[in-house]
Symmetry: D2
Subunit: 354 residues, 4 copies
């Protein structure tokens, strides 16, 4: 607990990269958490954050962060709760070391998402998966824990599919049109994307297909049974700054009408809404009336980037229903997702702070 502000001290692993910068930005104004410990690779250690990180999010880095001295990613140092914006290769080693040393690691990396004892969490969809932490601690002998959020393209589909489980989802075909900010920095070369589409994002289709099954899976006997639906993904990169747009065709056991689908989406509320978590959008999924929406440029910032928008719910002649969905890939699909995860952890007293 930080005495002056009453906010809980938290750390950021990989604070200088693009996802790390999103954490810094989101936490600068957070009512519960205070990013008091910014850690990064050895190259940055000891520098002021403003020197170590080339700020790419618009405007300037928040003043508090800008003046902070960057720390080494040393387990045992830093606050109990750390957000991880590490890339997968670093996360594979660093995150377990932190968990072992007693830290609760709320991670955006892909490294542990599909481990059977690690929650792959969307607080609105599968908060009960947090129960995996008990098993994780027992089996691994960790004082801390690792909790993950999904891939940025997965989260849009999974948010939409979650409330539709009631109709018996059998199959999903999803085509993504993903923003360049999802690839980090430097990420996609401009020669590859100005007036162009790249019809593949390495590894992304597998993640969407498997992560969605796990997220929508049921918790039984301390384990997650993946949802039986079959998911097929086509991923594409398009010349858009922020916002992943996804077209979905969905097959159901029942044959819900478009209006039944819309009702289910709009009336859906999850634990974050019940608990009024600070980063929770009041309505997780907003259905738009205009027949050419959602559009990334117009709709991606809904509820500070934490809302998912849906449009064009209609019958699919091949499966049953088709629609288009949109979410903010670096907020709802990355840093904002992790912050919401941490809010749920704190609210559910899964992590205790001093």
């Amino acid at each position: 607990m930080n005495d002056r502000t009453g906010r809980i001290d938290v750390g950021i692993l990989g604070a200088t990269g693009t996802v790390g910068q999103q954490f810094v930005r989101l936490l600068a104004a957070h009512p519960w958490f205070r990013a008091s410990w910014l850690a990064a690779s050895e190259r940055s250690e000891g520098k002021r954050y403003s020197e170590a990180a080339t700020w790419r999010l618009g405007g300037q880095a928040p003043a508090d962060a800008a003046g902070a001295v960057v720390q080494a990613c040393q387990p045992g140092r830093g606050p109990r709760l750390v957000f991880s914006a590490l890339d997968a290769s670093a996360a594979a080693d660093v995150e377990p070391a932190f968990a072992k040393a007693g830290h609760v690691v709320v991670s955006n990396a892909r490294s542990f998402r599909m481990q059977p004892d690690v929650p792959l969490l969307i607080p609105e969809i599968n908060p009960e998966h947090l129960a995996l932490i008990t098993r994780q601690r027992r089996e691994r002998g960790w004082a801390g824990a690792i909790v993950t959020n999904p891939n940025c393209a997965t989260v849009v589909a999974a948010m939409v599919l979650g409330p539709l489980r009631t109709f018996g989802i059998r199959s999903v075909i999803v085509t993504t049109m993903q923003a360049v900010s999802g690839a980090g920095y430097p990420g996609v070369p401009s020669l590859d994307i100005v007036s162009n589409v790249i019809p593949r994002i390495s590894g992304e289709e597998e993640k969407i297909e498997s992560e969605t099954q796990k997220i929508l899976g049921s918790m039984t006997d301390g384990a997650v049974t993946p949802h039986a639906m079959v998911v097929s993904a086509h991923t594409n990169r398009v010349p858009v700054i922020d916002g992943h747009t996804e077209t979905l065709s969905i097959g159901f056991d029942e044959r819900p009408s478009p209006s039944a689908i819309r009702k289910a989406l709009e009336e859906f509320r999850g634990r974050p809404q019940t608990l009024s978590l600070p980063s929770a959008p009041p309505q997780p999924i907003v259905c738009l009336d205009a027949d050419d929406r959602p559009q990334p440029r117009l709709d991606v910032d809904l509820d500070h980037g934490m809302g998912v928008t849906v449009g064009r719910i209609r019958n699919c002649p091949v499966l049953h229903t088709k629609l288009v969905a949109l979410g903010h890939n670096t907020i709802r699909g990355a840093a904002g997702a992790a912050v919401l995860n941490a809010e749920l952890l704190a609210s559910e007293r899964i992590i205790e702070f001093d």
Copy 2:
């Protein structure tokens, strides 16, 4: 027949618009046809083409066309073969009037595509549909005829599906990412598309779903029986100048392997290849090896924009096969398609020239 060049005189209806300009450009260097008669709306009549048309295709209008005087769209005037680049509202009245007056109208407009006695032609896929002309002339009492080419998004899907009929196509889910040139000029406002995706193109999904069935349909007893496959389309506009990219998931009666699919696509040749028509690509469908191709910026100009490229043929866990395809929307999907249609008509002696 034009004496000096040995080329056949042809006309263009709607010669000043963007599709009309593509006709002018393609015919300027055509070995068989000479665009000697450029017709447009009253507003342009009597002006030099260079004044009536703001040339938008790069460089300058071909010198011959630039100096020509624009004519009124008057049936009976002009050559026997006329290409129609009219928009649908004008085409609905003007094209039948020309057909009645004895012209063979090779049209890019949507107005008559789905009429049961009008060929909706892709020369590689359904050349036998030209037999509809006999019925058309008999039933309508026309000395001329109307022959149409598909919508620019349909043609990419239909070119890919045609050679796969042999495996028994049952269902297709296609998501398009369409270039702005497909919307003509002024077309899509830049505020709607810079760093954005528009998840709907008015009327386009219905066209893809029904036109594809007609094109792949069989000719029996002088009528086309649409193909029984079910097609479901999601259409999107993306910030790309030229080239419609489409992801397809396809369900088959048989379960062809990806390599069988590839073989069928690559070995496919149609009438235009057999006849060596001037605009025919040597190989209608080219499969690319790189796992991030085709891309519009790199692949759209293959074979002067008349080739269709395919990539990423792989199993679809929901249907059977998934892949990505690309075609040039204003060439293979509009003016080039019509020119190839006319070449087939001339070659098959369905139109006779003096």
Copy 3:
């Protein structure tokens, strides 16, 4: 005065267009003004604003405005203070009729900017030009008045040049790279701007060259003597959504060093800052340290789009100084400029409200 909120009722002429929408958006959260009267062309009269206006600014129209009924542009109706988002052709007739009928018209249109008795106002730079209103009323016999803000490209240059008058500005060469939102809607066709530059914006160079002279001019004997500096403009449209970037080379009587230039810009404060007007940025011109800034995507939203950013102040071997400047064209360059003008008018008691 609106009793319930304590805010002053104001009207918007041309409320349904893109600049009109910016007024609606900015005034929805304004502490002094309440847009209670939304007027537009006959086509929109009587409709709900949400039906009459296709909202293009992201998200949805503010709820209050969305439900309002659109009024006719009828002089004498509506509040005393009206903002004009009319285009120039409509403004030429409508604005004087409103001024005659007693309204104070705070206009974004170009129609009256260069009239000798009409203030062309940037509150930080030439607040004393408001004295023209006395002459305007006397000569024209108006109970109301017209006050204008500059062209969106002018305002960026004039904001930068204003604080530099002290060094004796002799000549300015400015090249603009202007965003597509500056052209309204539908505005620039996407075919003209995706992966392209258009090296001319009709009428814009003349406006920059003459408006800048008037704005920096001195007020003597009730008239504005234009500044003697010579301005030469090259205007270009580039594929950017929001933000006009401008490179300037400036010749001075004195030869201020880059650091003297920077000091003058950073220390500059105007009447809006002294008066703490609600829309005033705390520091009108912010100089950035990074050698590749300002950039529209990163810097355009500084101080809610009301700040101007400057970078790369250095010696120009031909004139004396060169630099790059950036401003938000639809906020500081249009609706926000007019709102700040109205705040100055209200604060200086040039308009009295009941």
Copy 4:
């Protein structure tokens, strides 16, 4: 000399990079030269070109090149004439080693451009600078030689200014809007340029300012005296694939009218035109009539990318004349420039082939 084709064997240093690929593409269809020796870094040595180089120019690599085995950059190996697409750090060592070993190195790198004994050549503008080779060989004791072409942004300005020397150029202020292909691959990150402008290109302004003076300089006593004009450059990166657009304001000793300027530009022909060199555009500078041209998307491919287009010639109120110019940065500004240089060398018998 290559026996079979009658073409001269030439080599390419750095053949796998983006400029190297342009060389491969241009030489595949060259009537005089045959790229029979493709060299690159050790990493690529021994691989097939198709494996070593990820082809980024559209379509596929030419078949001859695709199958070739990449060689090490070993001086003394390979043909007498080698094109260098090396980056500056490699060029600094490798190019002199090749020149010493007897190769004529026609280089696109910046390393030796400003050396007093190295021609910085635009064949239309300063072919007489080739006389520097004699001095270069004498002073450096080289059997071969190094000849360079200008920076891609310099060449557009220098091509326009060359024919205007007759009016006595005193000063030039140029603002560039440069394409992303000028930065190579991966080059500019897409996050930095989608819907954005970057107002600085590192080192580019200095090159434009000094290279232009050398190119327009006069040859006296075996040395180049730089032109006395003063040049001031503002460089910007914009979201355009190919084509550098530049606005120029020019001050003259005489005060030529816009029509005199246009006449001088249009009537200008240089040595490449007199000699009918294969890559020479028939008219080096083409002035366009439309008041919104040149535009990169429409005009950059004029004469296979070797022509420079100019528009909007008008009076500049600060200097004398202003205009906008456009050239293809990877062709006229890089590989095509070097090929034209080599054609001049061959034609003037400065290099002898066996």
